[in-house]
Amino acid sequence: MTDSKYFTTTKKGEIFELKAELNSDKKEKKKEAVKKVIASMTVGKDVSALFPDVVNCMQTDNLELKKLVYLYLMNYAKSQPDMAIMAVNTFVKDCEDPNPLIRALAVRTMGCIRVDKITEYLCEPLRKCLKDEDPYVRKTAAVCVAKLHDINAQLVEDQGFLDTLKDLISDSNPMVVANAVAALSEIAESHPNSNLLDLNPQSINKLLTALNECTEWGQIFILDCLANYTPRDDRESQSICERVTPRLSHANSAVVLSAVKVLMKFMEMLPKDLDYYGTLLKKLAPPLVTLLSAEPELQYVALRNINLIVQKRPEILKHEMKVFFVKYNDPIYVKLEKLDIMIRLASQANIAQVLAELKEYATEVDVDFVRKAVRAIGRCAIKVEQSAERCVSTLLDLIQTKVNYVVQEAIVVIKDIFRKYPNKYESVIATLCENLDSLDEPEARAAMIWIVGEYAERIDNADELLESFLEGFHDESTQVQLQLLTAIVKLFLKKPTETQELVQQVLSLATQDSDNPDLRDRGYIYWRLLSTDPVAAKEVVLAEKPLISEETDLIEPTLLEELICHIGTLASVYHKPPSAFVEGSRGVMHKRLPLGGDIGGSPAMGAGFGAAPAVMPASLNAPVGGGLGDLFDLGGGVGMPMGAYIPPKTVWLPAMKAKGLEISGTFARRAGVIQMELVLTNKAMSVMTDFAIQFNRNSFGLAPAGPLQVLTPLGPNQTIEVSLPLSTVGPVMKMDPLNNLQVAVKNNIDVFYFSCQYPISMLFVEDGKMERQVFLATWKDIPNDNESQFQIQDCHLNSDAASNKLQGSNIFTIAKRTVEGQDMLYMAIKLSNGIWVLAELKMQAGNPNYTVSLGTRRDGEQHY
């Protein structure tokens, strides 16, 4: 007897009957009833009404029954949160069952019950299970932490589960390690700044060791986690690569792709002249080729990734053209991807083979595939100059087949070939013109019209041809209309005598009878050009065209780099960054390849100042980051008096440039007023008087609040210190850098100009203290793009000292949290123009480097 019998009871009063059976004393009957309930649930019937009765069956010694009840709980607990509490006791009990299968089952199911009320009861059992003696229970508990975190992140942090999870990375059992890594990666993904996966050479070493021992899936978790690490130098990078390459021989395609991801990323750091670099390149090709014999869906993922890899490192697969030849029984999605890669790999060396293949494809039956094949022939012509002639003749052969869509596609690509190689293949125009009537697609019609217009002087009946298009002008698509207008104007400029009437006609059609603004505007422009200055018109309309590029559809380099970091994932399949299709990926950092070993040597360049410009997307953050870096820098030195940070004076205007007037100065915030502190020195031979100062418009509207107070004339070699109060109500204009200030100083001799940069910190106002709640809400509201992260290095302060120090500069600590030796400070800053900047500061005891995450809610800040 099979289980299908359970699906057949569909009479009325069923629920009632089931209820009775569930409460039956006979174990067998109970079990049958639960099976029926699950069967009903499976076919989508609502059996939630039986909740209490099913839960009553939970305490059983029958494992199968228990599993079914748990399954039921997972499905309905959310709709019956109050009753779900009934189950808690059994869970707690089961977590202490002598049988590890049951302990694991309980802890696994527990995490799947997404009811907030329950979660806190589960902390104790989970804590025990995380330390269970049986690895099967531990590995299940590790995943449960991720589940719980998804429901209540705060709870997990408060309970210290994250630390336990981190400890599990050093577990003796490889499966436990793998699941702990997976769980931590999952949690870290939603908390990008939490630095959970504190990857350092020691932990990396542990992971690499576990890599050899865990299951294929565990290997994938570990490899994906490794891919997030940035090695310190090329030697570390090489040694990781060496330990990852054996994975390329794994039978599971997903393991191979994840290994390829790590290698592609870390390879970036290896110097290209290193022998190992060449070895690695050679090692990558065979596994990539073998991926093409996997299941079609995996092939598809592989091909989309290979497409990225050949763009990033064409040398890897340049000799492997043949493996991308299309097979008859490939699914269409595989065929189209292979075609794409064939074009990318096409070169002078293999073009003959490629063309022969493409020609075959162009006679297949699948319309989309054929079209793409024809287009590919055109792209080959443009890419490999030596092959252009052969491509053109192949295209002409294809036009002879008269298969409508083949002809149209061929004409579109021939237009591009004409543009790339002008005055070379015009002899084929006659053949093209024969097919004028069969063109019904706008793109092909437009291409044909372009050809006629461009070569009007060589086509005797060009005017007739274009006139024939003109008849149905208003029924054409905009693309064709625009092209027709331009083509006729070209014709007129080339053969003015016979075509005056035609050009009049098209101009009036375009300007008077059309609703399309683009068409009208272009019509008017041509009209005016032609009527005012025919010579100029000729220069404009018949101007030399820019060359078309050889490679089309190339992915923009920064995106390509990001996608390489996501090999194997959906992003790499879509060729889009994750932020483009994952909702709520707040704060997910755009992944980047590490800096090349041959450029920087060490990737950690931004020492001292935390703000390495490369990682600062939002313009405001750069100076703020720099400012914060400054604040800490000083803080790290000898104990400074409390108070706002004041940068040392610098020379803004050297005497050489200002006829003897030297100006140095700084900015400060004193008692809520921004001060510009200037030191004027007269290094000239004559006395200076009549000082005045003015600011150019700037980002934060800084302006002098009063006149420059230099009352006494400044004699030779005399120095005067003045303090100029500033207001922030002046005119605003975005500067670059943001904190740039252009100043003009006038005296009796001349006007001098200089620019200086003020610390953003002086704009932080005193009432920048935010309510915790408000802070939390605002922090959540911050869009990704407005967030950035950087490190401040070498700062030896504890969190309290830092907090005090920062408060002196009007950076207010709103909340503080300690997670396993790592202090997190949440801070708010209010700028004089009312913009809030929120920051999260992470510091670890004994580690002089702080991680700062900055975010601001207002999109507007981008404009300042």
């Binding site: 699950i38 059992n173 865990c214 899936w217 021989s249 039978a251 029984n329 293949e357 959906l570």
Partner: protein, 468 residues
């Protein structure tokens, strides 16, 4: 990281069974799956990844089922597909056939398996042999002693249980090779490579350590040995059990084998191979009246060898009727449901050449749509014939109890024949020779040369040495 939920649907898009792993995607989203797929199929552009809003569907099809994973994150797509195929594999091991009925008949076990295979989107234990130790098809009575977690589940050796016992300790090694050939219209071999697999049938007690020695050129180069013919393997893929880092460092294939049958490794060799059976064909199509097919098959292998069960499958138009055949040897038949003419030759000696003529009637009213050009397929087996030259040189078996084990190398066909070394041909492409053919011409003439992709099977029953 990977799947949020996994669904098994029938062909109408009805959910047969599903499991919600993460709860971050609404389970009702699956209702969009089939409409999306239908739209794509209408456009003729299906894709294994589809999205609706921010939900992504990753799917595969198996018999009359769709297996679909949903996610709203940037999941590891290759992991998801590998997992879905693994699910198919496990279910097939459990239910022999995986189809609509087997899911319904076994829904309790399916739920249990889904629970064990994946947790919160992370694939867990997917080895069906190990799973069968604690998820049995009969309801398990809970006796503490009985249902324990097999330690294997979490062991570093997650594919083999402890305490296996055999009276006679033996291991059988099967080497199966297939040769892929692609030849263009001019008769040039465009590409050829050999894909081979080494399969094991292990009947060994305890936890044996095995070492397999092949005549691998890279290994011989490393050890500086030069013993006869070697083979250069382009790429090698190993079962989870093989120590990959060991292979990487000194090309040693060392492992603790899974019990019973398993695929130990597969390899690819880039060697130029000539087609063993050369086929030329002339297909003349007289529109509205008939199509005439002439196929010539030539054995290009040694005269002493014989190809068995040669099957030449020639595609014919779907609207053909009234078949007539004439063959110089063997017999031919029409298989209308596959649009094929199949010519079978029981025994095909090397160096010989045979002919088949076929003619079909065509209706006077022709179908408008163009038909694809499926390949002509040839299947055959040649006993006592080797292609790649790969050899299993030895198999070392060490178990702590110190028993004597017998390793055998066998070369078998998939159909289970055990008598000879076999070759098999399969699939090939055919291509037009004349590029100017037109779909509209009255006389439709295709000349084709047919080049096969070859499967090679070897069979032997050699006792292997157990040392180098």
């Amino acid at each position: 990281m990977s799947a949020s939920a996994v669904f098994v649907l029938d062909l109408k898009g009805k959910v047969l069974i599903c499991r919600n792993y993460k709860g971050d995607v609404d389970m009702a989203e699956i209702d969009h799956f089939l409409p999306l797929l239908m739209t794509q199929e209408e456009e003729g552009l299906t894709c294994p990844i589809m999205s609706h809003g921010n939900v992504h569907f990753l799917w595969i099809k198996h018999t009359n089922l769709y297996l679909v994973a949903t996610t709203n994150k940037n999941s590891n797509a290759s992991l998801v597909y590998a997992f879905l195929y693994k699910v198919v594999e496990v279910f097939t091991e459990y239910f022999t056939e995986l189809e609509e009925e087997s899911i319904q008949d076994n829904f309790v076990v399916v739920y249990e398996l889904l629970d064990e295979l994946m947790d919160f989107g992370f694939p867990q234990t997917t080895d069906s042999k190990i799973l069968q130790e604690y998820i049995t098809q009969e309801g398990t009575k809970l006796e503490v002693s009985k249902t324990k977690v097999p330690t294997t589940v979490t062991n570093a050796v997650s594919w083999r249980s402890e305490g296996i016992k055999y009276k006679k300790n033996e291991v059988f090694i099967d080497v199966i090779e297939s040769i892929n050939l692609l030849v263009n219209a001019n008769g040039n071999v465009m590409s050829s490579d050999i894909v081979g697999t080494v399969k094991l049938k292990t009947m060994l007690s305890g936890m044996p350590e095995l070492r397999l020695g092949l005549n691998d050129r890279a290994l011989f180069a490393l050890t500086g040995r030069d013993k006869g013919k070697t083979v250069t393997m382009e790429d090698v893929k190993f079962h989870q059990c093989v120590r990959l880092s060991r292979f990487e460092s000194d090309r040693t294939i060392s492992f603790i084998p899974p019990d019973g049958e398993s695929e130990l490794m597969s390899y690819r060799i880039n060697t130029h191979v000539k087609p063993l059976i050369w086929i030329e064909s002339v297909i003349e199509k007289f529109s509205h009246s008939r199509v005439e097919i002439l196929v010539k098959a030539k054995g290009q292998f040694k005269k002493q060898s014989v190809a068995n069960n040669v099957e030449v499958r020639v595609p014919v138009p779907s609207d053909a009727d009234s078949p007539k055949f004439k063959t110089s040897t063997g017999h031919a038949k029409y298989v209308p449901e596959k649009n094929l003419a199949v010519w079978t030759i029981k025994s095909f000696p090397g160096g010989k050449e045979f002919l088949m003529r076929a003619s079909f009637g065509l209706p006077s009213v022709e179908k408008d749509e163009m038909e694809g050009k499926p390949p002509i397929t040839v299947n055959f087996e040649i006993p006592y014939f080797t292609v790649s030259g790969i050899q299993v040189r030895y198999m070392k078996i060490i178990e702590k109890s110190g028993y004597q084990a017998l390793p055998w190398v066998r070369y078998i066909t998939q159909s289970g024949g055990r008598t000879a070394m076999l070759f098999r041909y399969s699939l090939l492409m055919y291509r037009e020779r004349d590029p100017s053919f037109s779909h509209r011409e009255k006389l439709f003439k295709i000349r084709t040369s047919i080049y096969p992709i070859v499967f090679l099977f070897c069979f032997l029953s050699f006792r292997l040495p157990t040392t180098e």
